[in-house]
Symmetry: C3
Subunit: 295 residues, 3 copies
């Protein structure tokens, strides 16, 4: 099904409103264009809601939040809800400062997010009020590994249920869940962590995927994660020994531009699981059952 999600983005060319950080904003714009979407950035309170209304989806990224843009994020988020538009939260650096943690957590009460995408430390901060953030990167102690995969899926699933959002935790192993099902994705390349903004770019692109595939938010979010990881793999294959992270950045965006449904389906490394609650009232225990790779 990944093919379908990708092709709907290319077919619909969704216009995405981004209230995002000034560090990676150009890459977010170019990756939106690369995947078939169309970007607009507008963060002044006086126009945020109006711009949200004319767009198809909203991407809120708190990477360089400030007291001017925080109210715009909230107002735009509510407007997107009122319009029935998908809205994504990227809680960049949540846990690194009180302002970020609060700015990320507050809208959870006031805005319904279609998806929340972050690294494991950021998501833990949102869900639990604490995480091991190391600046804007996940702390190593939080890393998702095969050893803690099941418990992390369960954690993510509970957070998805609590928020009603698709929760996407990305890193070496990616988890995307709506609380009922979870996709575990093993695309990507370690060098992606040496390019600033691969997470931000993914969030922007995921918003386009969610906007063009509103009936299937889990599949849309998972397809975007696969596409980003696969672009990272394919870009790495094209990287010569004379090139470094700056060339890699351009090649990743290029690969998103060049990607079609066939490339995505053949390259995606995705397993889908069902999250089953135990059949006894209060139990928190949940069982993962692998589902045939039907996506």
């Amino acid at each position: 099904m990944l093919k379908e999600q990708l092709e709907k983005v290319r077919g619909q060319m969704p216009l995405i409103h981004n209230i995002t950080n000034y560090v990676t904003v150009n890459d977010c714009a170019n990756i939106l264009l690369a995947c078939g979407g169309s970007p607009i950035m507008a963060d002044d309170l006086e126009e945020a809601e109006e711009i949200t209304a004319v767009c198809g989806g909203l991407n809120i990224n708190i990477g360089t939040l400030n007291h001017n843009t925080i109210p715009s994020m909230l107002a735009a988020g509510k407007k997107a809800n009122a319009c029935g538009h998908p809205v994504l939260l990227d809680p960049v650096g949540a846990g690194a400062s009180r302002l970020r943690t609060e700015t990320a957590r507050r809208p959870l009460k006031e805005v319904h997010f279609t998806a929340i995408r972050g690294n494991i430390s950021e998501i833990k901060t949102l869900a639990l009020g604490m995480g091991g953030a190391k600046g804007v990167d996940a702390d190593g102690i939080d890393a998702v590994t095969d050893a803690n995969l099941e418990s992390t899926i369960l954690f993510a699933g509970r957070f998805a249920e609590d928020t009603g959002a698709i929760v996407a935790i990305t890193g070496a192993i990616d988890i995307v869940t709506d609380g009922d099902f979870a996709c575990v994705i093993r695309n990507g390349h370690p060098l992606m962590s040496k390019v600033t903004g691969t997470g931000c770019m993914l969030s922007a692109m995921m918003t386009a995927y969610l906007t063009a595939n509103q009936e299937q938010p889990l599949e849309a979010a998972a397809a975007a994660v696969c596409a980003m990881g696969l672009a990272g793999e394919r870009a790495y294959q094209r990287l010569s020994a004379k090139e470094g992270n700056a060339s890699y950045r351009s090649k990743i965006i290029d690969e998103i531009f060049l990607m079609d449904g066939k490339i995505l389906e053949e390259g995606a490394r995705l397993c889908k699981y069902r999250l089953q609650k135990q059949e006894n009232g209060t139990s928190e225990k949940i069982i993962c059952t692998e589902v045939p790779h039907e996506m």
Copy 2:
């Protein structure tokens, strides 16, 4: 004459003050350096006028305007007028929100612009108070085609007369007019629409051209449009099948860097027309007469 305009930019290295959006600002700086100019960005009200005064020209781009930068734009614009410096308006997204439309229209009353450059929807919004903006891109229904070329030239010419500015409408077909003459330019490549900021970059570069060629603003603006479109064509020729919009972005700037007067003159696809008003008092009718390609 295009050769002359280009060489004057390289000879004079005009310092350009940019109050511009944070999405494409780095590309604007690099394309200014590529064409032979020198960029400075400063948007705080406390220094905007002073920076304008020490520069040769001013580029105002409302792409991510906010309540802090709007007063700076106005103050800097007036200062540029007082100094006799060329000043360009790029009304990014005019029509997409009331704030943008008003911010773009208000300075028209208070600042005299040497040039106004935008897509057809933005220019219609400025001129008529309404346009079919789709975010920051022109709406398809507004597109300049051979079928509506003459009427669009006439529209642009009237807006140029009303504002006293060179009006540059860019898209698949570009129109640059001062109300008396109009240049129609058919350089460029459709892929340029998949790179964020090609319009912003053109505006920054056009400001440098206007600054180094103050006696010939129409020719300067037209030369910048030809250079940008030709860079897009030449960059496309250097794009391999393995590359996408991110690589294309770098190559466009590279081609501006590599361009000399000979390349520009040989590659430019420009026709110049004379706009003739009918010889009867109130008539709005205007006749286009092709002028031999003398530029």
Copy 3:
């Protein structure tokens, strides 16, 4: 010793807080990742100190300062001092406006900087209250040449003594001094001046070097300058005749990514001098004595 400085950055992966301009911020983030550091950008007053506290070093760059970020710079600077973290000042465009000059000079009284890095005009503005800034570039009349090298070293040395900071003046010839010793570095390529932000990138990277090498700030700053210049040389060698300043930008960052201690030591063109005050009380005269290249 350059090898050691570089390897400590790669080994420690220092987290650097950048309060910097939105023009070159993405390149600063990517070059920090390239050299082995880790970037975080945060400029709102409400989180600036907190972010500084969790980082290892602070890079203050006034390239697009505004009334919101100036107080953040000051607060973060003081916090870094309180934490004992290295803090660097990049006085971009000091001299181009009163606001920049004052913003650059004021923290000199309130914050102790580990290093100050700028072009000669910016440093003259800081030290003397006046310089020949041409926008954000050094004025030609200020340029460091072999003819004025000794006097410029002495000037830089006095400013280093006055401020207690490593002073790094970069341009065609680079000077890095702590007042007792001065390193003169002749790496680099003229084309670097056609890439926006090479100075900003160097400042960000230098902050990482200072943070990972706190016992040897002079050596750390000099190693960063050598690395940047050498990256410029090596990137230029990889630039084809079909490429321009945009490709060059990426290649410079790539070369920082690829650089190891061996490459740096073999490519660095550094001479170290001792600054000797005359042995008579009030005399300002200082003698340069070349020191064998022991670094």
